[in-house]
């Protein structure tokens, strides 16, 4: 793939993942040299919104019909679709409350005029279209993104991290917040790749990178309850970044 | 983003860092040094000495061994040699360790202590000053 045509898009989200790409600073020049970025609304005013793309990088969750349509258009014009950020991969913060009826929510917040807003329950990209590669994170890790793109350009499958945050924490000999401080640290459930930055600063992992393969939700919930935390608090913590509905759906898929 | 390293300034007076918890020794040694035109920086324990040396690498270090801890100097010397910008700074060790601890008759071999010269305490000040002058006039 020599100098592929690339588009970088954001649906509903904070645009933090696109910002990480721009924040690559001295390596950003390598990125522009290696990729022919044709459509990147956040960084350019000269965008081609119709051309075919070899690679589309999309952040943000799908929260409206407009998002859905935009995503479908992107999928139609791209060979490879990469979802970046926990919102795109898991639904993220917007997907936190999957239980409340959407129209009820809109009415509560906006009153009657809420009816005119185009809003749908939050969904991850893979719930709408086929996704070829997931790079989660809140925001994504610069190194992981760059090596993912490097691998793609070399025709290789990107090596995604598959180990939990716990392992990275232990490798750095940080004090374990689960065994020492009786904290609600989601380290064992969360996908690593962040070098256990938060536990290293004595802050319990909040699971911002989404669940790791084969995360044992039941056992961790039981552990937290043994340590005196209530079900409500635990549920709230678990679904902050990867709405329980999505997590449960994905975990049950793996078991088949 | 790369940080720029401070370039070594070769104009101006040479800096000598003295690390010793013996205040009298530090004063007694810095007076003749300052008279000779050297700029003297003083530290009274290994940690402080290391901190100052890392901020502004001196041209020469005078280091005591027995400070707050009996072997503090050993560890400080080792740490200086591990620090890239201090690796080639000459270290003159002064110590009463070998006379104060009878059974510790070990010679302070150069490879062991990673130092450049050794002066047993009580220090022959003339000899020390001559060595410093000779050492600092060699390199420009």
């Amino acid at each position: 793939m020599s100098r592929p045509n690339v588009g970088i898009f954001g649906l509903t989200g904070c645009a933090g993942d696109q910002l990480v790409i721009l924040n690559c600073e001295d390596r950003f020049l390598h990125i522009i040299a290696a990729l022919n970025i044709r459509d990147f609304a956040m960084a350019s005013s000269d965008n081609d919104s119709a051309c075919d793309l070899d690679l589309a990088i999309v952040e943000g969750a799908v929260l409206s019909r407009r998002d859905e349509e935009q995503l479908e258009r992107i999928r139609a014009r791209s060979r490879i679709l990469v979802a970046i950020g926990t919102c795109a991969v898991w639904g993220g913060i917007a997907a936190m409350d999957g239980d409340t009826d959407r129209s009820q929510l809109v009415r509560d917040i906006y009153g009657e005029c809420g009816e005119q807003f185009d809003t749908t329950p939050a969904r991850a990209l893979h719930e709408i279209v086929g996704v070829d590669l997931n790079i989660s994170g809140c925001p994504i890790e610069e190194e992981e993104f760059l090596s993912g793109i490097s691998n793609l350009l070399n025709g290789d499958l990107p090596i995604a991290p598959t180990t939990p945050v716990c392992a990275e924490c232990k490798m750095r000999e940080y004090n374990c917040l689960l065994t020492e401080r009786v904290d609600m640290c989601l380290g064992p459930l969360t996908l690593g790749g962040c070098n256990a930055r938060c536990p290293g600063l004595s802050i319990g992992c909040v699971g911002c990178r989404g669940p790791v393969d084969d995360a044992n939700l039941e056992s961790v919930t039981a552990l937290f309850m043994e340590n005196g935390f209530g079900r409500e608090d635990i549920a709230r913590k678990l679904r902050t970044f990867a709405g329980l509905r999505v997590v449960a759906h994905t975990l049950s898929e793996d078991e088949s | 983003m790369k940080t720029r390293k401070a370039t070594q300034v070769t104009l101006g007076p040479r800096t000598i860092l003295i690390i010793d918890d013996d205040v009298d020794f530090v004063e007694a040694t810095s007076v003749p040094l300052e008279k000779r035109g050297y700029h003297v920086v003083k530290a009274y324990d290994g940690r402080e000495g290391l901190r100052l040396a890392k901020i502004a690498p001196p041209d020469l270090v005078i280091m005591d061994i027995m400070m707050g801890e009996r072997t503090e100097g050993f560890f400080t010397v080792q740490e200086m040699r591990q620090t890239t910008e201090l690796r080639s700074v000459p270290i003159f060790v002064v110590s009463s360790l070998y006379s104060r601890i009878e059974e510790f008759k070990v010679a302070p071999e150069r490879e062991w202590l990673a130092h450049d010269e050794f002066f047993p305490k009580p220090v022959d000040t003339e000899k020390l000053l001559k060595s410093i002058d000779r050492r600092l006039s060699d390199d420009h």
């Binding site: 490097s150 490798m171 | 503090e72």
Partner: protein
């Protein structure tokens, strides 16, 4: 074997002489936990520690190391800069010394691993004895006394350390230290024997391992494995802290915009979901229960078949590190049918 004694009060002087053999690293304390780190001063050393978070293995098989670099311009270049670094590990317990001897079997026989072996040559081991706590069971695993694998070993006899010289380098260290070492007297020997037999009685955990391999064979389908599978988080903590775990993953990291890259070696664990995943998508140990069963089997049975002894040394780190309290001693006792044994 040459045996001398060193006055405890002179240990700091000895430690400073030892610096000529390399950078001194010893267990240091941080918020109640211990870990081997380079010393900034002798007072940082905590030789009274029970166990460190990561075992000395981290020096010989680092969590992440570059094996070689490949550059389009120059080809393959082995990454050997830090292999030559001379380090002195001061205060290694017998169980961890046994663990290193076990790793020598794996990396030093058959296919020789040059990275591990070079480090083994350049890192000096000064052992020290210890007091077992409630998680130690090295005595059951026959790892509470180290006969070999150290340069020096210090044994506490009150005001002195009996110093056992294990290698020529250990001898060099004693000679370099000179008159600080003195001859051992008869009363020293009596005191050593007294303390040694006293220590044997202080172990709180006990495990019979002699027929364990057979019991493991018989209990392959036991219910306990399913139960553990439900509890286990697959977090890999037990592997990270284990002094004899040696599984690793190898990956290539390519630099963007070029064909240059590094080949790196990273710690892996059989507990990770993808550990037994192979090309084509087949996963030989898809379920958590199969993975945790594998870990126990490898340590206590598989390793025995290949190397003649279990690879567990009874250091107790996995017991301390498991967030859900899975305890290897409890598991084994339950398999044996020891009454009222629970798995935590």
């Amino acid at each position: 074997m040459k045996i001398l004694k060193l006055e405890k009060g002179k240990l700091d002087l000895f430690a400073s002489v030892v610096q000529q053999f390399g950078e001194v690293h010893a267990p240091t304390e941080h918020e109640g936990k211990f870990s081997f780190k380079r010393l900034n001063s002798w007072s940082e050393a905590r030789l009274d520690y029970n166990r460190t978070v990561l075992p000395p293995r981290k020096y010989f098989l680092p969590p992440r190391e570059t094996l070689f670099k490949y550059r389009e311009a120059t080809g393959y270049v082995p990454a050997t800069e830090d292999l030559e670094k001379r380090v002195v590990l001061f205060g290694v317990h017998a169980c961890d010394i046994h663990a290193l001897n076990i790793l020598d079997e794996v990396f030093g026989k058959g296919y020789l691993d040059p990275y591990y072996l070079t480090r083994r040559k350049n890192i000096t081991i000064i052992g020290i004895d210890c007091t077992p706590d409630e998680h130690c069971f090295c005595r059951s695993m026959r790892a509470d006394f180290a006969e070999t694998g150290f340069d020096l070993f210090l044994k506490d006899i009150g005001d002195h350390y009996l110093t056992f010289v294990g290698t020529a380098r250990g001898d060099d260290m004693v000679i370099a230290t000179g008159p600080l070492f003195s001859e051992v007297t008869h009363s020293d020997i009596v005191e050593y024997k007294r303390r040694s037999s006293q220590k044997c009685d202080t172990f709180k955990l006990d495990l019979e391992i002699r027929d364990l391999p057979e019991i493991f064979e018989l209990e392959y389908q036991a219910d306990i494995w399913e139960e553990l599978g439900e509890k286990c988080l697959s977090c890999g903590n037990c592997s990270m802290v284990c002094p004899t775990c040696y599984c690793y993953d190898v990956a290539d990291e390519v630099k963007l915009g070029s064909h240059d890259g590094d080949r790196v070696r990273l710690w892996d664990s059989c507990l990770f979901a993808t550990h037994a995943l192979v090309a084509g998508g087949e996963n030989f140990r898809k379920t958590r229960s199969s993975r945790i069963k594998f870990r126990f089997y490898h340590k206590q049975r598989g390793f025995v078949a290949e190397y003649g002894r279990p690879s567990c040394v009874g250091c107790g780190r996995c017991i301390e590190a498991c967030p859900v309290g899975i305890n290897i001693v409890g598991v084994i006792n339950r398999l044996r049918g020891v009454e009222h044994a629970s798995t935590d």
